[in-house]
Amino acid sequence: MRVIGRRIIQLVVVFVVVTFFTVLLISLVPGKPEIVVIPFDNPQHTQRAAFRKENNLDRPLVIQWEKWAGKFVKGDFGNYYQSTGTDPVAKRIKSSAPVSALLILYTQVFSLAVAIPVAIWAAYKSGSRLDKLLNATAFAFISLPAFAVALILGYFLGVKYNLLPTSGYVRITDNPVEHFKTMVIPVLSLSLGQIAVYMRLLRSDLVSTLQEDFILMAKAKGISNRRVLWRHALRPSSLTLLTVAGLSIGTLIGGTLVVEVLLGIPGMGYLIGQAVLARQYVALQSSVALIAIVFVLLNFLIDYLYTVLDPRIRERT
């Protein structure tokens, strides 16, 4: 219980710090923010006046933040202003967030599903030519940015051999087959780098675990190598991997931004990209705050998973 209490305090601190800076963003806009956010107003400037009032721009920064936060926690994320009309940011996030969440989920699952067996194989054969080849390949993958992979895959899989759609998105509830087809290229683009990082990390942790006495002990029981590796070596070696997998959700959120814009996937990255171009600071502010909260929550979950993986940590917390 004390742990949960501490977590909630942490979450509040992170929320305050992150959102305070995003609120500050509007005040830092060169010129008047209402002119930047609403470039085309009616002659009476009623929209701009409403915008100033709505965001309390005439009041002190702390009050601005307080009013904004009060609305945010109630699910009012402000408005998205367009010449065609104004609509709530919450509505847009509601349709974008699941797309990105799925994209990141698929990427993580796929990356780990590939990286873990490969890392085990490389660690088992550590020092061999195979191990060196896998390491070199991983290094090449780390060096490839996701957008480059997206373009290459899009060209070959989409344009040249016409196997997959190169852009667009289909919801899983509309057509599951098409949904997964549209996700292949973005997931692969984001995964390659992750696979390489995860694989190298887990491999090196495994190599040191395999030197442990308890591995020799497990071998001396006459159980199969497969069992020794998966049951005895993997779990004690996976704590770093877990940490990095949690932290890389942040990297992936950044990665989705580029990949979503490039491949026309209407996720959070796409939303943020549009918001930046259209100077929709309010939308930006709410999206960033939301992502920060999700990121922190996911890492709390990771902290909990440590205790599942290693019973010794359970004692300490």
């Binding site: 308890f214 002990m217 029981k221 006459g222 159980i223 199969s224 069992r227 005895h232 993986l309 019973p311």
Partner: protein, 361 residues
């Protein structure tokens, strides 16, 4: 750490060595490792015969090759190791058996108790899983059968509340308790042969005797053959039927425990005995240490490997390597020395031998 109450004559049963079939026959076993510095010759030309129900104590200081010997016999070797010679287990040659074939022996026929129960148990698996996995692997037991067997095993190694202990993780137990768990794991499938690699070195002195007594009792009850590896002559005294003293990868003296302690022949064994503190010594007596250090196993000296540290060494010792030969007075007592310790000196030493039942801690 010898049990003060134990009468050695009772423990080392003067049984006819022919009793019990020959289980293990090691002939000219040598093990070397390739390293960046060159070939490390960890074990050289070791021959051992072990019968069921007998205990062989392998004694030597750190780096003498005693642990490598145990692992070489069992075949638990890293990939950079090369072994030559012959290891026959139950009449089957196992030295060059592929790992897959060895898995039928490991756990089921032969098992090992490791030195450090803190590091040799998997920290993330419950005790039950660690005991039952070899039961599932070798004996094909059902879950319930394996659970009952695990309970019985914990009881047999003297663990109270076995049902509760089975659900625990290793870090929740004391060192002595963990070593008992490790013994239970080793014994799970009823092996014919048990290797105990310094089983008490990492434990509190107060627990050491308990664990050694337990091993001895289990060995006797189950008529196992046991190789007890230790750096401490006091550990094997009164517990091993036979003793092999190792130095720089070779056996330098090998005899029945009685014969060895009655008449120490090799200067190294003598030095080991002298380095053990004795109760009648005055307080603050300096212990006799063996000067120098063991030779580099990559670059072994010519001649006797102990010559550099031996008080009796002569020119011949530095030029020519002695062979392991039977003592003229006792053909079963093997010594690798040109100038064995005189009988007179040995008789004087005998008074200090640990079989006399002294506290050796």
């Amino acid at each position: 750490m010898t049990d003060l109450t134990a009468d050695p004559a009772e423990i080392v049963e003067p049984a006819d060595p022919a009793v019990g079939e020959v289980l293990l026959q090691v002939t000219d076993l040598s093990t070397s490792f390739t390293s960046d510095r060159g070939t490390v010759r960890a074990v050289r030309d070791v021959s051992i015969t072990l019968r069921r129900g007998r205990t062989l104590g392998v004694v030597g200081e750190s780096g003498s090759g005693k642990s490598v010997l145990a692992r070489s016999i069992m075949g638990l070797m890293p990939s950079n190791a090369t072994r030559t010679g012959s290891v026959e287990f139950g009449g089957v040659e196992i030295l060059n058996a592929p790992p897959k074939a060895m898995r039928k022996f490991w756990g089921e026929q032969m098992a090992m108790v490791f030195q450090d129960p803190m590091t040799a148990l998997n920290p993330v698996l419950r005790v039950e899983q660690q005991i039952t996995e070899s039961l599932h692997e070798h004996l094909d037991l059902t879950k319930d059968q394996a659970h009952d067997t695990a309970l019985a095993l914990l009881t047999s190694v003297g663990i109270p509340e076995p049902a509760r202990r089975l659900r625990m993780y290793p870090h929740e137990m004391s060192g002595g308790m963990r070593q008992r768990i490790m013994i239970a794991i080793a014994l799970a499938c009823g092996p014919k042969m048990l290797f105990a690699d310094e089983p008490t070195t990492a434990l509190d002195v107060t627990v050491q005797a308990q664990i050694l007594d337990l091993l001895q009792a289990l060995q006797r009850d189950r008529q196992m053959a046991m190789i007890l590896v230790t750096h401490d002559l006091g550990v094997v005294a009164g517990r091993a039927h036979d003793i092999a003293v190792m130095y720089a990868g070779q056996i330098v003296e090998q005899a029945s425990a009685e014969a060895l302690f009655a008449r120490v022949r090799h200067p190294y064994t003598e030095a080991l005995l002298k380095s053990i503190p004795k109760l009648e010594m005055a307080k603050h007596t300096r212990l006799e240490a063996i000067g120098g250090r063991p030779p580099d196993l990559v670059d072994l000296p010519v001649g006797c490997k102990f010559a550099a540290r031996c008080p009796y060494a002569q020119d011949r010792c530095r030029e020519e390597e002695p062979e392991l030969l039977p003592d003229p007075d006792d053909a079963s007592h093997l010594v690798r020395c040109f100038f064995p310790v005189s009988v007179a000196a040995s008789a004087a030493l005998q008074a200090t031998a640990p079989v006399a039942g002294e506290e050796l801690a």
